[in-house]
């Protein structure tokens, strides 16, 4: 463990130094202490220090979120004849838009509930039990989440769509004239894709947290006379609530703002706010209505986040986390073993089959009519070969490896930006809200609570923002002075950072909050400077969370489509953009190429995930 941590440290430190303001602060503090007691006491004031941590994240948000969003909303409303207020009234009274809003809400709620239903038992099994192949299962279940929406949609199509494996096989066996499974363009498709997509969030966020909770707490409850159900209700659930509510919120917001899945799998019958914004913007050029819908979507997310922040502020408490080796046991009883195995096999099957179908489909030439020689005689690498051909001598053609290179470069930049901004923000959040009984008087603490209550939802804003609107905002606001970034290669990573930022903060804050203040004090008494405390206590202890955060940032960047589609320069497409270009062209060859490129992206992200997963396993003794 020590070795891997050490290997990890320099890199983490580099990342950290980039953005953390309080490093400099520490030096100033030292100087002030020698010179003027007044200044030192001023800077020692916890409130000011926390405020300083907020500077970088807030400046970033101001420049790359509020400024573009403000510009686009202003521009949009300015085009309307009726003025913003009337546009809102129109949007809220029109039966179509109300129907869309209502559908957006209930499909998100239903998807979230289903995701929890599947994710929580999985999280329990992975958190509490040790069994063979567990690390592989954990790695595999992580893959769907990192898949771009486009790939997921394509994957489900290749499994259950009219020309998907299931239908082709059934037609072949029973000699049916029509595909028997109606999956595409149904509500079921949307729900299944959402659950497929987001179960990982529950497995990760809840499972990780669960795996570190001391099982003796439950045992203590049982010794005190609580039965299984009471233990779950009064001990386990309350302890897990911060993790569960964080996961639920994220899943809900994801489903609420779902775009690619609905666009491709839902078909024309279903439309969420985000899809509607896209239609109104791109197809109908009704920018005022699109802007009004963006604001409505934003308000909904903001309200949710605010409620969530209020709740977790009261619910999370420092826990002494145990190492995983301590909390896990083997599956013993025959019946529970069978149950667990069945569940895991089903879970894994659900999460992997579509992706396998995608990969298989990308190397198969399926011709639905005739050809009785069977399905497996048509193996082909044509689609992959075709990727390297530029048939129409297109100016914007890029070979797949270039697109992958561009995607990886953007993703790496996103990781650096997101961590550099996310760490100070999470640190400020964690310290302002911690039940720090060892320090501070009541008024300072409530002052910080107030500060964090405002900033916390603000950080989540980009998540609830329509990617399409944001992309347009970037084009409108950042394409002209004073901030002209049109030609800059950082534009895309900046947009991705906005989307990744809330994830980074959400992953880091609970981990930082769970570090007992005592440990920092102990280090400090033993002569560790504030900077050393950060480096040797906080950073190593949140190592796992950092990794999770980095993974989030990396994969979000790899898969981001909505905003990238608008702001990426045509000669520098990311992989999802390249896939979309292929999908939108007609013909089985283009579809096949889309499958092939999707498969490549899947392999790239999956191997990245597996590498990280290996690293995580090596880290077991961390808490």
């Amino acid at each position: 463990m020590a070795a891997s941590l050490d290997a990890n440290r320099p890199a983490l430190k580099e990342i950290f130094m980039d953005g953390v303001q309080n490093q400099k602060k520490t030096k100033e503090e030292g100087r002030a202490q020698r010179n003027a007691p007044f200044f030192s006491s001023l800077i020692q004031d916890k409130r000011l220090r926390i405020l300083a941590l907020w500077v970088a994240p807030l400046v970033f948000l101001a420049l790359f979120y509020f400024y573009p969003m403000g510009s686009i909303l202003q521009a949009s409303f300015a085009r309307g004849r009726a003025g913003p207020a009337a546009t809102f009234i129109d949007a809220l009274t029109s039966p179509t838009e109300r129907g869309i809003l209502w559908f957006t809400i209930w499909q998100a709620a239903l998807s979230t509930a289903l995701t929890l239903l599947l994710g929580l038992p999985g999280a329990y099994l992975l958190a509490r039990y040790e069994f063979r192949g567990k690390s592989l299962i954990q790695a595999l279940t992580g893959i769907p989440f990192v898949m771009p929406t486009l790939v997921v949609a394509v994957a489900f199509n290749s499994l259950l769509g009219p020309r998907g494996w299931a239908n082709v096989a059934l037609m072949d066996i029973f000699h049916l004239p029509q595909p028997p499974i109606q999956f595409a363009n149904t509500l079921v498709a949307i729900l299944v894709a959402h659950v497929f997509y987001n179960t990982t969030i529950v497995l990760r966020m809840v499972g990780d947290f669960w795996s570190h909770i001391d099982p003796r707490l439950s045992q203590a409850a049982q010794v005190l006379g609580a039965n299984r159900l009471q233990t779950i209700r009064h001990v386990t659930l309350p302890l897990l609530i911060p993790a569960i509510s964080a996961a639920t919120l994220l899943v809900f917001i994801f489903d609420f703002t779902s775009f690619g899945v609905i666009l491709i799998l839902g078909g024309p019958r279903f439309s969420t706010l985000e899809v509607e914004i896209y239609y109104q913007t791109i197809s109908l050029f009704n920018l005022p209505l699109a802007a009004a819908l963006s604001v409505i979507q934003l308000v909904c997310t903001l309200a949710l986040t605010t409620v969530y922040t209020r709740l977790t502020a009261n619910l999370s408490r420092p826990l002494s986390l145990r190492p995983r080796s301590f909390t896990q046991r083997r599956l013993s009883k025959g019946r529970s073993r069978v149950l667990a195995t069945t569940f895991l096999v089903l879970l894994l099957g659900f999460m992997i089959t579509p992706l396998l179908a995608l990969a298989a489909r990308s190397v198969t030439n399926v011709t639905p009519q005739g050809d009785q020689q069977g399905l497996f005689s048509n193996l082909t690498l044509d689609y992959y070969r075709e990727l390297n051909v530029n048939p129409r001598e297109s100016l914007f053609y890029v070979p797949p490896q270039t697109a992958i290179g561009i995607s990886l470069a953007y993703a790496s930049a996103t990781v650096v930006f997101a961590l550099a901004l996310g760490l100070p923000a999470s640190w400020a959040l964690a310290n302002g809200l911690s039940q720090d009984n060892e320090s501070g008087n009541g008024s300072a603490k409530s002052g910080l609570l107030w500060l964090n209550r405002i900033f916390d939802p603000v950080l989540m804003l980009p998540l609830g923002t329509s990617a399409v609107t944001l992309g347009l905002g970037f084009i409108v606001a950042l394409g002209k002075p004073p901030l002209d970034l049109r030609a800059s290669p950082v534009l895309v990573p900046l947009a991705h950072t906005l989307v990744a930022f809330p994830f980074v903060v959400r992953s880091l804050t609970p981990a930082l909050r769970s570090i007992r203040p005592r440990l920092r004090q102990a280090a400090s008494v033993m002569g560790a400077t504030p900077r050393q405390v950060l480096r040797y206590i906080d950073l190593p202890m949140v190592g796992r969370a950092l990794l999770v955060a980095a993974t989030f940032a990396f994969t979000i960047s790899l898969g981001e489509f909505g905003a990238t589609a608008l702001i990426a320069r045509p000669e520098f497409p990311t992989v999802p953009i390249a896939i979309y270009r292929l999908i939108s062209r007609p013909g089985p060859l283009n579809y096949g190429q889309a499958l092939a490129l999707s498969t490549i992206l899947m392999v790239v992200t999956a191997s990245g995930m597996l590498a990280i997963e290996r690293f995580r396993i090596a880290d077991v003794g961390e808490f």
């Binding site: 007691p37 190492p323 060892e438 008494v525 033993m526 002569g527 961390e622």
Partner: protein, 363 residues
């Protein structure tokens, strides 16, 4: 003595909301001295350590080292050590890296760190534990790692917060003596917080008794035990035979009038007082100067001694005898003799006794 060596704590006040944790605590710790801070749970002991370490700020008062105020010195520059009651071991570092922490922070050479860590681990009886994961250690082992960690940098002041609390009695008694040996051998200046008087007797050069955020008494272990300065101190030390009384002068003799008897004593100023009858200064059936008689209501065998409770005129009194003495059974009559001047200690009511006002007995 112009310049004071060691730690000076003067008039520390600290409140949390409406509860006052410390209300004007003052005492000193001289260089090389072990001072035990003794008091019941929740008397503000840990808060005091937090303030000395610089982890908390006092509302009022001052902490000085060698007469220099520490008000502007942050915890990591104070050069103190604190062993937390809950150990606060770093769960992400093994035993070695926990113990080496302070030395690593000070950028000591690797070679030196290894030597010191090895040495202190041996000192606390954990040789060969270097590579162990702290999370897998037993409570007692964790405690010793925490102790080793606080000893390793040889801080100019070491504060120990109930350091032996989670050990079994045997180990604790052994470590009490060993710990004193270790601290003395290292000439370690130390503050030792405990609620266990015996631990304090064994370990400390001087004891500071704290109650409700106030210093009740400062003195050597013998002074504290033999002449508790107040009713609180007496009771806290397990000396429960406290009797209300009044001193009168009758025909030239001084008499202490208590509910159990009128006791002849040596000359003292008359007035209302509280008298302590020491539990170990009486003889069973002996021929002491004064005798009382009562019914035995309780007996308990405690290994090296036996305790009996005797009801004298409906007032229960506790007495300890060596276990080899045959004590009467419950319900039997017992006759006890004692010398009032030896067995009695007298406090003026409400104020600390005249023998030993707080602070004065520190020589």
């Amino acid at each position: 003595m112009d310049k004071k060596n060691g730690l000076q704590i003067s008039n520390i006040h600290k409140s949390f909301g409406k509860t006052q944790a410390l209300a004007g605590v003052s005492f000193e710790v001289r260089q090389g001295e072990i001072v035990a801070v003794l008091g019941p749970s929740g008397c503000g002991k840990s808060t005091l350590l937090g303030i000395i370490a610089g982890l908390e700020s006092a509302d009022q008062g001052e902490i000085c080292w060698n007469d220099h105020s520490l008000a502007q010195v942050p915890p990591h520059r104070r050069g103190f050590g604190l062993m937390f009651q809950d150990f606060a071991l770093f769960p992400h570092r093994n035993v070695f890296d926990n113990v080496a922490f302070a030395l690593q922070m000070a950028h000591e050479p690797r070679q030196k760190i290894q030597e010191i860590v090895k040495e202190v681990l041996e000192l606390v009886g954990l040789p060969g534990f270097s590579e162990r994961d702290v999370n897998t250690l037993s409570g007692g082992e964790q405690q010793r790692v925490a102790l080793a960690r606080s000893l390793a940098p040889h801080p100019r002041l070491l504060m120990l917060d109930e350091p032996l609390g989670s050990l079994d009695r045997n180990l604790r008694e052994r470590l009490e003596v060993e710990l004193r040996g270790i601290l003395k051998q290292m000439q370690q200046t130390a503050i030792y917080v405990t609620h266990d008087q015996e631990e304090a007797y064994v370990l400390a050069d001087r004891i500071v008794v704290i109650n409700n955020g106030k210093v009740e008494q400062v003195g050597s272990p013998q002074e504290i035990y033999l002449s508790p300065a107040s009713e609180f101190v007496a009771r806290f030390l397990g000396l429960n035979n406290l009797l209300p009384g009044e001193i009168r002068q009758e025909n030239g003799d001084f008499i202490l009038d208590t509910p159990i008897a009128r006791l002849p004593i040596s000359p003292r100023p008359p007035g209302r007082v509280t008298a302590l009858l020491r539990p170990d200064a009486v003889h069973l059936n002996g021929n002491g100067r004064f005798q009382i008689q009562g019914t035995v209501t309780e007996t308990s065998f405690r290994g090296s001694m036996s305790r009996i409770v005797i009801s004298v005129k409906n007032i229960p009194l506790q007495f300890n005898f060596p276990s080899y003495i045959q004590v009467p059974q419950v319900g039997e009559q017992a006759r006890l003799s004692f010398d009032p001047d030896q067995a009695l200690q007298i406090f003026a009511e409400g104020t600390p006794g005249p023998d030993s006002a707080p602070g004065t007995s520190s020589s």
